[in-house]
């Protein structure tokens, strides 16, 4: 017997209003049978709901756990509690306005999402980005990666029981947020990258501020390592837990540190370099066994690589323009409008209608903190995209959760969910 409709459907009441009685999830017995083992039907095992309001699911993820005592027999993730309709909303926005929405996909790494989106549009329209803008993009993208990893480290350790990590990592995170605020005026939702370059040049003390981070961070990272790396309690909870092998990880389409923890050398920055990442010398940390500890190590080692990239980019940061001089996509500088009729027309056209992209389809991927973050744009030649789709690494990585948690203890589930480093804004979009 086949069941056509999706599982875990909430019945919408006819008036399209939500009331407390809607909370009962409609799952028929047939649908349940397909998700859990036959033993659950005889009452031999227990079904337990975890989430969507659970502090350790990193947002609003719901897990349906089938338990035999403390052991997890099967784990069924239920997603969509944060579905925001971002892809659909993109169809009504022109390419410049679309940038604002990308911040809110992976809100732990907004600048990397900006980078992916503007990269895709640049590919579609065919504009070149000045080298200074590319280097600044790299610096900010790496700072964003550190930001994302700091939140992961703090919350992951908090879930497992190392409360103090959270306080330390959020202290350091404020330093990074100060830099984002310096360049863009906003702490989190930056929208700083624009098609063809940057919104504006970085302020003069930007370089000093980033150098300060380079100076402070190694010491702070050492503190983190002292707290966790050889900590027997930490190792007890992470080594050998949530193992996923090389082949399985590839088969599930995992990317990012979660994949590299299993020893697969795949990093978009190396495989398909973008924004001049091929100018910099860095290595890709790899794990071997693919357990929670290896994934933790991969992310920790990425901190050092990020610092290395930032240092090189700062040393070689060239002077020059920060936005392309193609007036069809980038607005002219304000002072030009005063004497050039053409600039005034471009300005008017860009801020009313936006630029037209040629007809076609394009895919552009970047390495975000979680893995390969890809943007697919299909254009019909107008100022707005026909369809935008995001390849969210968290969603693909989350698929492997049932595999990793099979046979684990229930207390380890929070550790495994944390080690995959999902962000629900990106899973559900």
């Amino acid at each position: 017997m086949t069941v056509a409709e999706p599982q875990f459907q909430i019945e919408e009441s006819p008036q399209n209003t939500v009331t407390a009685s809607d909370t009962q999830l409609d799952i028929t017995l047939d649908q349940l049978k397909k998700l859990v083992s036959p033993r659950a039907l005889t009452g031999d095992t227990m079904l337990l709901n975890m989430g969507p309001q659970h502090p350790s699911t990193h947002g609003v993820l719901r897990l349906l756990l089938e338990l035999d005592g403390e052991t997890v027999i099967s784990c069924v993730p239920d997603i969509g509690f944060l579905h925001t309709g971002i892809e659909k909303t993109h169809e009504g926005k022109n390419y410049t306005k679309g940038i604002v929405l990308t911040d809110r996909i992976d809100y732990l790494a907004p600048l990397i999402c900006n980078l992916a989106y503007v990269g895709a549009v640049e590919k579609l329209v065919g504009v070149d980005v000045p080298i200074r803008a590319q280097y600044i993009r790299v610096i900010l993208a790496e700072l964003t990666r550190m930001n994302s990893h700091l939140v992961w480290l703090g919350t992951h350790a908090l879930d497992i029981g190392a409360m103090s990590m959270f306080l330390y990592t959020f202290r350091e995170r404020e330093m990074l947020l100060d830099i984002f605020e310096l360049v863009s005026g906003a702490r989190m939702m930056t929208s700083y990258f624009r098609v063809g370059g940057l919104w504006r040049d970085v302020p003069d003390h930007f370089v000093d501020a980033v150098r300060n981070i380079l100076k402070v961070f190694p010491q702070r990272l050492l503190d983190y390592e002292k707290l966790l790396r050889e900590n027997p309690l930490w190792k007890e909870r992470t080594v050998g837990v949530g193992v996923i092998g090389r082949e399985d990880a590839i088969a599930y389409g995992m990317t990012g540190p979660s994949l590299r923890g299993s020893g697969v050398n795949y990093d978009v920055r190396k495989a398909m370099p973008y924004s001049s990442y091929d100018h910099f010398d860095f290595s890709v940390p790899l794990g071997s066994t693919g357990d929670v500890y290896d994934r933790y190590r991969c992310r920790m080692d990425e901190f050092y690589q990020s610092l290395k990239i930032i240092e090189q980019a700062l040393d070689r940061l060239p002077n020059g323009p920060i936005v392309t001089d193609n007036r069809k996509v980038a607005p002219p500088p304000k002072h030009e409008i005063a004497y050039s009729m053409e600039s005034l027309i471009h300005h008017f056209k860009l801020w009313t209608e936006g630029f037209h992209a040629p007809e076609g389809e394009v895919y552009h991927a970047v390495e975000s903190g979680k893995g390969e973050f890809g943007v697919f744009i299909s254009s019909d030649g107008g100022p707005k995209p026909r369809r935008v789709h995001f390849r969210a690494p968290s969603l693909c990585n989350l698929q492997a959760l049932p595999h990793m948690s099979k046979g684990a203890l229930i207390a380890d589930i929070v550790g495994i969910v944390g080690s995959v480093d999902i962000v629900l804004g990106e899973v559900d979009r």
Partner: protein
């Protein structure tokens, strides 16, 4: 040194029951540990080292709605999450308050579309709206102080 030792020297303090209860309630709020989207990250920053929400008597975040009396709706509420959110609100014991943190929770924010509830006040009564996308931690703290003022002025009869 406890309060009673100080009071011992002061003799008798007179106040109205309403004021005393309002004062006690406003300074021991237990918020629910419950984040939805981007704003929840700023809510976490507010609790963490730099901003330290415990200065205002609310360091104890409870993961269970039965033990909390403040719901900070931090983030966008999707149509799928809305019934869950209402259910959580119904489970909180009286007296209870709601802060809508961020533009999404207040009015839908940038997401004027089919998926997002256009303001959480469609499903739960909101006491304080905090604007911003996301609001800075200072803004959330200001919202909390506003709520504390509001609680202090609330008549006792409201929660019968």
């Amino acid at each position: 040194m406890g309060l009673e030792q100080k009071l011992g020297n002061m003799g008798v303090v007179t106040t109205s029951l309403e004021q005393a209860v309002g004062w006690a309630r406003s300074n021991a709020i237990w918020p629910m540990l419950f984040g939805l989207a981007c704003c929840a990250i700023e809510m976490m920053s507010t609790q963490a080292s730099n901003y330290d929400m415990s200065r205002f008597g609310m360091e104890l975040m409870r993961a269970s709605p039965r033990q909390s009396d403040l719901m900070i709706v931090a983030g966008r509420v999707s149509r799928k999450m809305a019934p869950v959110l209402r259910n959580l609100y119904d489970q909180m014991p009286d007296p209870k308050w709601v802060i809508a943190m961020g533009d999404c929770a207040s009015c839908g924010g940038v997401f004027n579309n089919y998926a997002v509830v256009q303001g959480v006040d469609e499903i739960v009564p909101v006491d304080v709206y905090v604007a911003g996308c996301p609001p800075r931690p200072e803004a959330l703290i200001d919202g909390i102080l506003k709520l504390q003022d509001k609680i202090k002025k609330e008549p006792l009869t409201k929660w019968q």
